[in-house]
């Protein structure tokens, strides 16, 4: 992933150094017709008025509840008035849950789309990998290593890059997600390393639920840029009590030819990257449950063309691509699920080989450089949830992980020699957390975890939360927590002609303070304010050494982040709901006094879901504003507003579900900051891409059939 290629310095120099702000994309249309937008809204307003009028004119339909049979009622699509659980207000954080229904209604295609709808999260796409940031931290050069990504509790972050995959390389088809739970803030007191800025827990659909897959489900999608996707899922509850879920998906996107102004010279195809934005993946997932046992296995393989001349590759070279393959097997035993003492035990094995094909030019000949990583690991976990003691809820457990291989290598096609190194490591952690109901309206949540890693090194992370219920509907939470992340093999050891290793890196740490106010009205309306102060120590950051032009990872001076998030959510009885949030944040690097790169000061989000005419048709409308961000090369990526609209016909006929989505519906031209992978500074002169343009208006049409 990552940086490679030899004689890069020359390659960069030979490139046009001039480097101005954003540029035109060859086939983008610059005229979002205001008139069309206006007409569109007139249309929506008109149809909406018609629908409310018909509803008023025919009260009989609404009133006569006696006409429905039991069977019809069970199959009737009703949107739960409130998914707010009382538990959420007791949690020592402000948790967000996105459900399968939301994924359908808003037409989400990647995990990152789901996450970006959450308060405070923003994204960055370099046309190869997707990245997320939170509370002003979205460090270019990390592969989402500061987010712990769990799949039904299994840790997906790999053993070389700590990657949390959120783009098309994510191991699971998003259609198989039952819900995504996002817990912002440090989670190291329970989860150890990586739970630095937040924990993303993806919970998969099961064959168990009656509402879910029973039998065969097939889904077909077709989308802009020659994109097609197919999925086949089979779910069955056998007579002997075995639950089976099997799913297979294939995706291919040809992509468009992209224009990059930075490379607009005759020798670099006038800035057009031809047929290089392709994206192809296949994945397989199975889950077998029998009594207390659950076996999960998954495999995914993705090949992505790299159109951005990343990692110092020649522009528009057809051989530039990356391949990510992931596999895991996880066996879980869960006893006493609804009882006072619940035990969960698991063993797992995983691997995540990465192969980059990254050509470079040497004396006018193109040589293909192979950049490889071979992470492989296994481990086990034991966890107890104990509510046997009055007023106490205890969570305790232990985790062991053996990183069997953390191998990195880099070699050229034409040579037998190259760079290669093998590493391995072990780590374990033990933790305990107690939720103690001190009084009727006071809860104390205290926990700590001890982690041992790399031989004699160890660390303790505490967490303390005070939760005070002002009355039955409002809660105040005061939270303190710490988190850490050990430097990964990539940050410690990776070296090429353009990258220097740094084996003396220390773990990075963070201290966080949150003051949260949550208010519920009538179980229909929820309001949250979260004011925070974060301070990092020894944050691991990718920096470019101006002396030799090489990238390396350093522990940097403390960085402070402060800000506030606001979120309001309202549900209506007919299934309509809206969620709006605003995040204000400021980061400050204490060494320079400046803000971090890729750190927007303002994020605004709106999500609205409403039935149209009846529950059979609904619309999901999403608007997101991301504020201006600085780039790693002192440039800027401007703020932008994106709107997406999805129409979902849920029960048009009994078995068929259709949806139509338009993304970036106002065809806004916007760019994300590039990272070190696409830009570089040689002797003070920036080159490469400072910002990367994103897709304009695009469409998707999807059909799902339940047999």
């Amino acid at each position: 992933m990552r940086n490679a290629g030899k004689n890069l310095a020359t390659a960069w120099k030979s490139r046009r150094a001039a480097f101005s702000k954003p540029m035109e994309t060859a086939n983008s249309q610059r005229h979002p017709s205001l008139r069309r937008i206006f007409l569109f809204f007139c249309y929506i307003a008109a149809t909406g008025l018609v629908s409310s009028n018909t509803a008023k004119a025919a009260p009989a339909e609404d009133d006569d509840l006696t006409q429905f049979s039991l069977e019809q009622l069970i199959n009737l699509n009703v949107y739960s008035a409130s998914k707010f659980t009382q538990k959420a207000s007791d949690a020592p954080s402000a948790v967000t849950v996105i459900t399968a229904a939301d994924i359908k209604a808003y037409g989400y295609r990647k995990l990152v789309d789901i996450l970006k709808s959450i308060r405070g999260i923003y994204g960055r796409y370099d046309r190869n990998y997707d990245f997320i940031g939170l509370r002003g931290f979205g460090r270019p050069g990390d592969y989402n290593s500061r987010f712990l990504l769990l799949l039904d509790g299994y840790r997906l972050n790999d053993a070389v890059y700590d990657t949390a995959t959120v783009g098309t390389e994510f191991i699971l088809d998003v259609d198989l997600i039952d819900r995504v739970e996002f817990v912002p803030g440090p989670g190291s007191s329970i989860y150890g390393s990586n739970a630095f800025f937040g924990v993303v827990n993806v919970i998969t659909r099961t064959a168990k639920d009656v509402k879910d897959v029973k039998g065969l489900e097939a889904s077909l999608e077709t989308a802009s840029y020659n994109t097609n996707k197919a999925r086949l899922t089979y779910g069955k509850e056998l007579d002997n009590g075995l639950h089976v879920l099997l799913s297979n998906s294939f995706y291919y996107s040809k992509g468009r030819n992209l224009y990059f102004k930075e490379f607009d010279t005759a020798s670099t195809n006038n800035g057009i990257a031809q047929n290089l934005d392709y994206d192809r993946y296949g994945n397989f997932f199975t889950k077998l449950s029998y009594n207390a046992f659950t076996l999960m296995a998954a495999y995914s393989e993705r090949k992505k063309g790299v159109p951005t001349s990343a990692y110092g590759t020649p522009f528009n070279d057809p051989n530039t691509h990356t391949i990510d393959k992931q596999t895991f097997i996880d066996l879980q035993y869960n006893q006493g699920h609804d009882e006072k003492l619940n035990m969960m035990a698991r063993v797992f094995y995983g691997e995540f080989p990465y192969d980059g094909s990254l050509p470079y030019t040497d004396n006018n000949t193109v040589i293909i450089n192979h950049d490889l990583a071979r992470p492989q690991w296994w481990g086990g976990e034991l966890k107890f949830v104990n509510t046997q003691f009055n007023k106490h809820k205890l969570v305790y457990g232990a985790e062991y992980r053996d990183n069997i291989r953390q191998d990195l290598s880099n070699y050229d096609d034409d040579s037998t020699t190259g760079y290669s190194e093998s590493h391995s490591s072990r780590r374990y952690g033990i933790y305990i957390q107690d939720e103690y109901a001190l009084r009727e309206n006071w809860i104390i949540n205290a926990g700590m975890r001890y982690d041992s890693y790399g031989g004699a090194s160890n660390i303790i992370n505490p967490r303390l939360g005070l939760i005070y219920k002002l009355d039955t509907s409002s809660t105040v939470k005061l939270l303190y927590g710490t988190a850490f992340r050990t430097p990964n093999a990539y940050e410690l050891y990776y070296q090429t002609d353009l990258d220097k290793p740094n084996p003396t890196l220390k773990p990075e740490k963070i201290k966080t303070y949150d003051l949260i106010f949550e208010k519920y009205y009538d179980n229909r309306f929820r309001f949250v304010i979260d004011a925070f102060y974060y301070k990092t120590r020894d944050l691991i950051d990718q920096r470019n050494d101006p002396l030799d032009g090489k990238s390396t990872f350093l522990n940097i001076a403390p960085v402070e982040a402060r800000g506030a998030e606001f979120e309001a959510e309202r549900h209506w009885g007919n299934g309509a709901k809206i969620r709006a949030s605003l995040a204000l944040q400021k980061t400050r690097d204490s060494a320079t006094g400046a803000a971090l790169s890729n750190s927007p000061e303002l994020l605004v989000k709106f999500n609205g879901l409403t039935p149209l005419f009846s529950t059979k048709l609904q619309s999901g409308f999403e608007v997101q504003y991301t504020g201006r961000r600085d780039t790693t090369n002192a440039g800027t990526a401007g703020g932008y507003v994106i709107a997406n609209l999805t129409l979902l016909a849920g029960q048009w006929t009994k078995n068929l579900e259709m949806s139509m989505s338009v993304y970036n519906m106002f065809d806004k031209r916007y760019a994300d900051p590039g990272g070190d992978e696409v830009s570089n500074t040689i002797a003070g002169t920036p080159s490469g891409l400072d910002t990367i343009y994103q897709d304009g208006r695009n469409y998707r049409f999807k059909l799902t059939y339940h047999f």
Binding site: S52, L73, I74, V78, A81, K211, N574, P611, Y625
Partner: protein
């Protein structure tokens, strides 16, 4: 900050759209009432539960808020099992035994157990949408799933109250707690 202005504009637009569109569908509360009506049709009470063949079928509501109670009026006076449905709101605990159906709005563990103790073996079909209701001894629990509503039955509790259900109702129930048919469901 033109972009921000636009963002606010779209936010406002979104809220507006919601109010314009927000009509035409059945609410969760309405669907629940429709369920209760169906349960009334598929339940058999002992003949002693009615004094005359013309006696109404009495549906009592306790601990429900005004909104929920208002939705129930949609089935007031409707026919079920040849009897007229009569709705009583805010019933005192000593009168609970005179109900045929008891819908508990807010059924927390403590008050539910108290109510069920008051009912004893009286032939009253208890219904609630609170999680765990059938495990505390309630008879039917309405369960809100992601996009639909289902129900679960505690058949042991029904037997205790001397009431029975049609096979169709039991077939559609997501969970049937039944100690006499070990492991059939669940």
């Amino acid at each position: 900050m033109a972009a921000l202005k636009r963002a606010i504009f779209f936010l406002a637009l979104g809220f507006y759209a919601n109010f314009v569109f927000g009509a035409g569908a059945l609410s969760e509360a309405q669907v629940k009432v429709a369920f209760v009506y169906n349960f009334a049709k598929f339940t058999t009470w002992p003949s002693t539960a009615f004094s005359t063949p013309q006696s109404p079928l009495i549906l009592c509501l306790i601990r429900t808020n005004d909104n929920a109670a208002a939705v129930f009026s949609a089935i007031e006076g409707k026919q079920a099992q040849g009897r007229t449905l009569q709705i009583k709101r805010s019933v005192r605990s000593e009168d609970l035994k005179a109900c045929h159906i008891l819908y508990v709005g807010d059924a927390d563990e403590k008050s539910t157990i108290e109510t069920l103790r008051t009912l004893g073996e009286a032939p009253v079909l208890t219904i609630a949408d609170t999680e765990g209701f059938i495990h505390f001894g309630g008879i039917i629990e309405l369960v809100a799933a992601d996009s639909n509503i289902q129900f679960e039955v505690n058949l042991d509790a029904a037997r205790h109250a001397n009431i029975s259900f049609s096979a169709q109702l039991l077939k559609l129930s997501k969970v049937v707690l039944d100690s006499q048919a070990k492991g059939r469901h669940q």
